[in-house]
Protein backbone atom coordinates (compact mmCIF):
# COMPACT_ATOMS: atom_id res chain seq x y z
CA UNK A 1 0.00 0.00 0.00
CA UNK A 2 2.76 2.37 0.93
CA UNK A 3 4.65 1.51 -2.22
CA UNK A 4 1.48 1.95 -4.24
CA UNK A 5 1.03 5.43 -2.83
CA UNK A 6 4.62 6.32 -3.64
CA UNK A 7 4.34 5.05 -7.18
CA UNK A 8 1.16 6.95 -7.77
CA UNK A 9 2.80 10.04 -6.39
CA UNK A 10 5.86 9.56 -8.57
CA UNK A 11 3.64 9.33 -11.60
CA UNK A 12 1.63 12.38 -10.70
CA UNK A 13 4.85 14.29 -10.13
CA UNK A 14 6.53 13.34 -13.35
CA UNK A 15 5.84 16.68 -14.90
CA UNK A 16 6.50 18.73 -11.81
CA UNK A 17 9.69 20.73 -11.74
CA UNK A 18 9.82 20.89 -7.96
CA UNK A 19 8.51 18.71 -5.20
CA UNK A 20 4.98 19.90 -4.40
CA UNK A 21 4.60 21.18 -0.88
CA UNK A 22 1.64 19.00 -0.06
CA UNK A 23 3.06 15.74 -1.45
CA UNK A 24 4.41 12.96 0.67
CA UNK A 25 8.09 12.25 0.65
CA UNK A 26 9.09 8.78 -0.47
CA UNK A 27 10.95 6.32 1.68
CA UNK A 28 14.63 6.22 0.76
CA UNK A 29 14.09 2.65 -0.46
CA UNK A 30 11.27 3.68 -2.80
CA UNK A 31 13.13 6.80 -3.93
CA UNK A 32 16.37 5.12 -4.89
CA UNK A 33 14.72 2.09 -6.48
CA UNK A 34 12.68 4.41 -8.69
CA UNK A 35 15.93 6.02 -9.74
CA UNK A 36 17.47 2.60 -10.42
CA UNK A 37 14.49 1.65 -12.56
CA UNK A 38 14.02 4.88 -14.50
CA UNK A 39 17.74 5.43 -15.07
CA UNK A 40 18.73 1.82 -15.50
CA UNK A 41 19.92 2.18 -19.09
CA UNK A 42 21.43 5.61 -18.53
CA UNK A 43 23.45 4.37 -15.57
CA UNK A 44 24.67 1.40 -17.60
CA UNK A 45 25.64 3.69 -20.48
CA UNK A 46 27.03 6.79 -18.79
CA UNK A 47 27.76 5.88 -15.18
CA UNK A 48 28.78 2.25 -15.25
CA UNK A 49 30.98 1.43 -12.29
CA UNK A 50 30.24 4.74 -10.57
CA UNK A 51 29.47 4.12 -6.89
CA UNK A 52 26.15 5.12 -5.37
CA UNK A 53 26.78 8.39 -3.61
CA UNK A 54 28.14 11.81 -4.50
CA UNK A 55 30.04 10.46 -7.52
CA UNK A 56 26.85 9.07 -9.04
CA UNK A 57 25.17 12.43 -8.57
CA UNK A 58 28.13 14.12 -10.27
CA UNK A 59 27.90 11.62 -13.12
CA UNK A 60 24.22 12.46 -13.53
CA UNK A 61 25.04 16.18 -13.55
CA UNK A 62 27.79 15.71 -16.12
CA UNK A 63 25.67 13.62 -18.48
CA UNK A 64 22.30 15.20 -17.84
CA UNK A 65 21.75 16.45 -21.39
CA UNK A 66 22.27 12.97 -22.80
CA UNK A 67 20.07 11.11 -20.38
CA UNK A 68 16.55 9.96 -21.17
CA UNK A 69 13.74 12.37 -20.26
CA UNK A 70 12.24 9.68 -18.02
CA UNK A 71 15.49 9.39 -16.09
CA UNK A 72 15.91 13.15 -15.79
CA UNK A 73 12.40 13.67 -14.47
CA UNK A 74 12.56 10.80 -12.04
CA UNK A 75 15.96 11.89 -10.84
CA UNK A 76 14.69 15.37 -10.04
CA UNK A 77 11.73 14.05 -8.09
CA UNK A 78 13.81 11.42 -6.28
CA UNK A 79 16.54 13.75 -5.11
CA UNK A 80 14.02 16.41 -4.13
CA UNK A 81 12.19 13.83 -2.01
CA UNK A 82 15.40 12.64 -0.37
CA UNK A 83 16.46 16.20 0.42
CA UNK A 84 13.06 17.10 1.81
CA UNK A 85 12.83 14.00 4.00
CA UNK A 86 16.32 14.62 5.36
CA UNK A 87 15.49 18.27 6.10
CA UNK A 88 12.28 17.26 7.87
CA UNK A 89 14.09 14.72 10.04
CA UNK A 90 16.71 17.33 10.89
CA UNK A 91 14.32 20.20 11.59
CA UNK A 92 11.30 18.46 13.09
CA UNK A 93 12.27 19.45 16.63
CA UNK A 94 12.33 23.14 15.75
CA UNK A 95 9.31 23.14 13.46
CA UNK A 96 7.21 21.27 16.01
CA UNK A 97 8.58 22.87 19.17
CA UNK A 98 5.33 24.66 19.98
CA UNK A 99 3.23 21.57 19.26
CA UNK A 100 5.54 19.41 21.33
CA UNK A 101 5.40 21.82 24.24
CA UNK A 102 1.60 21.92 24.04
CA UNK A 103 1.06 18.19 23.54
CA UNK A 104 3.90 16.70 25.49
CA UNK A 105 5.04 19.28 28.00
CA UNK A 106 8.45 20.85 28.07
CA UNK A 107 10.29 18.33 30.21
CA UNK A 108 10.46 15.53 27.69
CA UNK A 109 13.26 15.19 25.20
CA UNK A 110 14.41 13.17 22.26
CA UNK A 111 12.58 10.01 21.37
CA UNK A 112 9.73 10.55 23.80
CA UNK A 113 8.86 13.74 21.96
CA UNK A 114 8.67 11.78 18.74
CA UNK A 115 6.54 9.15 20.42
CA UNK A 116 4.28 11.96 21.59
CA UNK A 117 3.84 13.20 18.03
CA UNK A 118 3.36 9.67 16.75
CA UNK A 119 0.37 9.04 18.99
CA UNK A 120 -1.14 12.48 18.47
CA UNK A 121 -3.96 12.88 15.99
CA UNK A 122 -2.85 14.87 12.93
CA UNK A 123 -5.81 17.15 13.64
CA UNK A 124 -4.26 18.08 16.99
CA UNK A 125 -1.02 19.20 15.37
CA UNK A 126 -0.42 22.48 13.55
CA UNK A 127 -0.42 22.11 9.76
CA UNK A 128 3.22 23.09 9.48
CA UNK A 129 4.31 20.56 12.10
CA UNK A 130 2.05 17.92 10.60
CA UNK A 131 3.54 18.43 7.14
CA UNK A 132 7.09 18.23 8.52
CA UNK A 133 6.21 15.14 10.51
CA UNK A 134 4.69 13.54 7.42
CA UNK A 135 7.82 14.45 5.48
CA UNK A 136 10.02 12.63 8.00
CA UNK A 137 8.36 9.39 6.95
CA UNK A 138 8.25 8.25 10.57
CA UNK A 139 4.55 7.50 10.52
CA UNK A 140 4.90 5.10 7.61
CA UNK A 141 8.06 3.58 9.07
CA UNK A 142 6.28 3.03 12.37
CA UNK A 143 3.43 1.33 10.52
CA UNK A 144 5.93 -1.14 9.06
CA UNK A 145 7.33 -2.23 12.40
Amino acid sequence: MIRAISLVCALCLMSAAVFPANAQTMSYADAISQLAMACRNDIATYCKGVPLGPRLKTCFDTNEARMSPQCQQTRGVVYASIVRRAAAQRDIGDICSADIARLCGTTRAGESLLACLLVASPAAISPQCNQAFTDTGWRTERARQ
Binding site: S27, Y28, A29, S33, P51, L114
Partner: protein
Protein backbone atom coordinates in the same frame (compact mmCIF):
# COMPACT_ATOMS: atom_id res chain seq x y z
CA UNK B 1 6.41 -2.47 18.58
CA UNK B 2 6.15 -4.76 21.56
CA UNK B 3 8.54 -4.46 24.51
CA UNK B 4 9.42 -8.15 24.37
CA UNK B 5 10.50 -7.67 20.80
CA UNK B 6 12.83 -4.96 21.88
CA UNK B 7 14.42 -7.00 24.62
CA UNK B 8 14.63 -10.20 22.66
CA UNK B 9 17.83 -10.97 20.87
CA UNK B 10 16.98 -10.27 17.29
CA UNK B 11 17.44 -13.11 14.90
CA UNK B 12 19.50 -12.40 11.86
CA UNK B 13 17.36 -12.62 8.79
CA UNK B 14 18.76 -13.33 5.40
CA UNK B 15 17.01 -12.16 2.32
CA UNK B 16 18.01 -13.94 -0.81
CA UNK B 17 18.96 -11.50 -3.52
CA UNK B 18 17.73 -11.74 -7.03
CA UNK B 19 20.62 -10.84 -9.26
CA UNK B 20 18.92 -10.66 -12.62
CA UNK B 21 19.36 -7.05 -13.57
CA UNK B 22 18.55 -3.64 -12.23
CA UNK B 23 14.85 -4.33 -11.89
CA UNK B 24 15.40 -7.09 -9.37
CA UNK B 25 14.43 -5.90 -5.95
CA UNK B 26 14.69 -7.31 -2.50
CA UNK B 27 11.64 -6.92 -0.38
CA UNK B 28 13.25 -5.74 2.78
CA UNK B 29 10.97 -4.23 5.37
CA UNK B 30 12.78 -1.25 6.86
CA UNK B 31 10.40 -1.19 9.83
CA UNK B 32 11.14 -4.79 10.72
CA UNK B 33 14.82 -4.14 10.19
CA UNK B 34 14.67 -1.25 12.64
CA UNK B 35 12.87 -3.43 15.17
CA UNK B 36 15.49 -6.16 14.75
CA UNK B 37 18.28 -3.65 15.26
CA UNK B 38 16.73 -2.03 18.31
CA UNK B 39 16.89 -3.04 21.87
CA UNK B 40 19.83 -5.10 22.90
CA UNK B 41 22.19 -2.62 24.41
CA UNK B 42 25.60 -3.45 25.74
CA UNK B 43 27.32 -0.35 26.97
CA UNK B 44 30.26 -2.42 28.15
CA UNK B 45 31.22 -3.62 24.69
CA UNK B 46 34.94 -3.01 24.50
CA UNK B 47 35.57 -4.38 21.03
CA UNK B 48 36.61 -1.77 18.47
CA UNK B 49 36.61 -1.95 14.71
CA UNK B 50 40.41 -1.79 14.74
CA UNK B 51 40.57 -4.80 17.06
CA UNK B 52 38.21 -6.71 14.79
CA UNK B 53 40.31 -5.93 11.75
CA UNK B 54 43.43 -7.09 13.60
CA UNK B 55 41.68 -10.30 14.67
CA UNK B 56 40.83 -11.02 11.04
CA UNK B 57 44.49 -10.65 10.01
CA UNK B 58 45.60 -12.71 13.01
CA UNK B 59 43.19 -15.47 12.01
CA UNK B 60 44.77 -15.67 8.57
CA UNK B 61 48.27 -15.72 10.01
CA UNK B 62 47.54 -18.20 12.79
CA UNK B 63 45.38 -20.53 10.74
CA UNK B 64 46.82 -20.57 7.23
CA UNK B 65 45.16 -22.42 4.41
CA UNK B 66 43.22 -21.96 1.21
CA UNK B 67 40.04 -21.93 3.28
CA UNK B 68 39.94 -20.67 6.85
CA UNK B 69 40.47 -23.82 9.00
CA UNK B 70 39.25 -21.92 12.02
CA UNK B 71 36.19 -19.69 11.82
CA UNK B 72 36.74 -16.39 13.49
CA UNK B 73 34.24 -15.59 16.21
CA UNK B 74 33.45 -12.56 18.29
CA UNK B 75 31.40 -13.80 21.26
CA UNK B 76 30.86 -10.19 22.38
CA UNK B 77 28.80 -9.53 19.27
CA UNK B 78 26.69 -12.66 19.16
CA UNK B 79 23.95 -11.47 21.49
CA UNK B 80 23.66 -8.01 20.03
CA UNK B 81 20.76 -6.92 17.86
CA UNK B 82 21.66 -7.49 14.26
CA UNK B 83 20.39 -7.87 10.76
CA UNK B 84 21.91 -9.55 7.74
CA UNK B 85 21.28 -8.49 4.15
CA UNK B 86 22.69 -9.43 0.81
CA UNK B 87 24.04 -6.63 -1.34
CA UNK B 88 25.11 -7.15 -4.92
CA UNK B 89 28.44 -5.70 -6.01
CA UNK B 90 30.17 -5.66 -9.35
CA UNK B 91 32.62 -8.54 -9.62
CA UNK B 92 35.80 -7.96 -7.63
CA UNK B 93 34.63 -4.42 -7.03
CA UNK B 94 33.17 -2.29 -4.27
CA UNK B 95 30.60 -0.75 -6.61
CA UNK B 96 27.06 -1.54 -5.46
CA UNK B 97 24.88 -2.75 -8.30
CA UNK B 98 21.69 -0.79 -9.05
CA UNK B 99 19.76 -3.99 -8.22
CA UNK B 100 20.75 -3.40 -4.58
CA UNK B 101 20.07 0.35 -4.42
CA UNK B 102 16.74 -0.42 -2.83
CA UNK B 103 18.41 -2.47 -0.11
CA UNK B 104 20.72 0.40 0.77
CA UNK B 105 17.75 2.78 0.86
CA UNK B 106 15.87 0.40 3.15
CA UNK B 107 18.85 0.21 5.51
CA UNK B 108 18.87 4.01 5.54
CA UNK B 109 15.14 4.10 6.29
CA UNK B 110 15.73 1.75 9.21
CA UNK B 111 18.71 3.68 10.57
CA UNK B 112 16.66 6.90 10.46
CA UNK B 113 13.89 5.31 12.51
CA UNK B 114 13.61 7.21 15.78
CA UNK B 115 13.92 3.96 17.77
CA UNK B 116 17.52 3.70 16.54
CA UNK B 117 18.41 7.31 17.16
CA UNK B 118 21.94 7.71 18.45
CA UNK B 119 22.98 4.07 18.45
CA UNK B 120 26.27 3.00 16.94
CA UNK B 121 26.39 0.31 14.27
CA UNK B 122 28.96 -2.01 12.84
CA UNK B 123 28.67 -2.52 9.08
CA UNK B 124 30.45 -5.83 8.51
CA UNK B 125 31.20 -7.10 5.03
CA UNK B 126 31.65 -10.80 4.28
CA UNK B 127 32.82 -12.49 1.07
CA UNK B 128 32.66 -16.06 -0.16
CA UNK B 129 35.87 -18.07 -0.56
CA UNK B 130 36.55 -17.14 -4.18
CA UNK B 131 39.87 -15.29 -4.19
CA UNK B 132 42.65 -15.21 -1.62
CA UNK B 133 41.81 -14.73 2.04
CA UNK B 134 43.93 -11.64 2.43
CA UNK B 135 42.51 -10.14 -0.76
CA UNK B 136 38.99 -10.83 0.43
CA UNK B 137 39.62 -8.95 3.65
CA UNK B 138 40.48 -5.85 1.63
CA UNK B 139 37.57 -6.37 -0.75
CA UNK B 140 35.02 -6.79 2.04
CA UNK B 141 36.46 -3.76 3.84
CA UNK B 142 36.02 -1.63 0.70
CA UNK B 143 32.52 -2.98 0.22
CA UNK B 144 31.54 -2.28 3.81
CA UNK B 145 32.92 1.23 3.37
CA UNK B 146 30.97 1.65 0.11
CA UNK B 147 27.77 0.80 1.96
CA UNK B 148 28.65 3.18 4.77
CA UNK B 149 29.46 5.93 2.26
CA UNK B 150 26.16 5.44 0.38
CA UNK B 151 24.22 5.51 3.64
CA UNK B 152 25.87 8.84 4.44
CA UNK B 153 25.38 10.36 0.99
CA UNK B 154 22.74 10.43 -0.45
CA UNK B 155 20.81 9.00 2.53
CA UNK B 156 22.03 11.32 5.27
CA UNK B 157 22.90 8.75 7.90
CA UNK B 158 25.27 10.24 10.47
CA UNK B 159 28.74 8.87 9.58
CA UNK B 160 29.73 9.05 13.22
CA UNK B 161 27.41 6.15 14.07
CA UNK B 162 28.77 3.78 11.42
CA UNK B 163 31.93 1.69 11.59
CA UNK B 164 32.83 -0.39 8.52
CA UNK B 165 34.69 -3.67 9.02
CA UNK B 166 35.73 -6.20 6.38
CA UNK B 167 35.67 -9.80 7.56
CA UNK B 168 36.76 -11.38 4.27
CA UNK B 169 35.92 -15.07 4.20
CA UNK B 170 36.89 -15.62 7.82
CA UNK B 171 33.27 -16.14 8.93
CA UNK B 172 31.71 -18.24 6.20
CA UNK B 173 28.01 -18.62 6.74
CA UNK B 174 27.99 -21.99 5.00
CA UNK B 175 31.48 -23.51 5.40
CA UNK B 176 30.36 -26.68 3.60
CA UNK B 177 29.70 -24.58 0.51
CA UNK B 178 32.33 -21.85 0.75
CA UNK B 179 31.68 -20.40 -2.69
CA UNK B 180 27.92 -20.18 -2.15
CA UNK B 181 26.26 -16.81 -2.47
CA UNK B 182 24.86 -17.06 1.07
CA UNK B 183 28.36 -16.31 2.31
CA UNK B 184 28.36 -12.93 0.59
CA UNK B 185 26.49 -10.73 3.00
CA UNK B 186 26.47 -7.58 5.03
CA UNK B 187 25.85 -7.67 8.73
CA UNK B 188 24.56 -4.69 10.65
CA UNK B 189 25.07 -4.84 14.39
CA UNK B 190 23.79 -2.42 16.98
CA UNK B 191 26.73 -1.97 19.32
CA UNK B 192 24.41 -0.26 21.76
CA UNK B 193 25.14 2.34 24.34
CA UNK B 194 24.35 5.27 22.12
CA UNK B 195 27.91 5.32 20.94
CA UNK B 196 29.32 7.04 17.93
CA UNK B 197 32.67 6.44 16.25
CA UNK B 198 35.30 9.00 15.42
CA UNK B 199 37.38 8.91 12.25
CA UNK B 200 39.83 6.49 13.89
CA UNK B 201 37.06 4.07 14.73
CA UNK B 202 37.13 4.83 18.45
CA UNK B 203 33.80 5.07 20.17
CA UNK B 204 32.48 8.03 22.06
CA UNK B 205 29.10 8.88 23.52
CA UNK B 206 26.94 10.56 20.89
CA UNK B 207 25.74 14.06 21.63
Amino acid sequence: MKPQQISAVAAAVVFAAAVTGALAQQEINSGQMATSLAGVSNTRLSLTGAQMRQAVLDNIRNYPGILPPHALSFPQLENLAQFVVEVDFDFNSAVIRPSSYRTIGAIADALHNPILLGYGFLVIGHTDSVGGRQYNVGLSQRRAEAIRDALVDPFNVNPAVLEAVGMGEEQLRDPAHPTSGVNRRVQLINVGGKFCFNASGERYVCQ
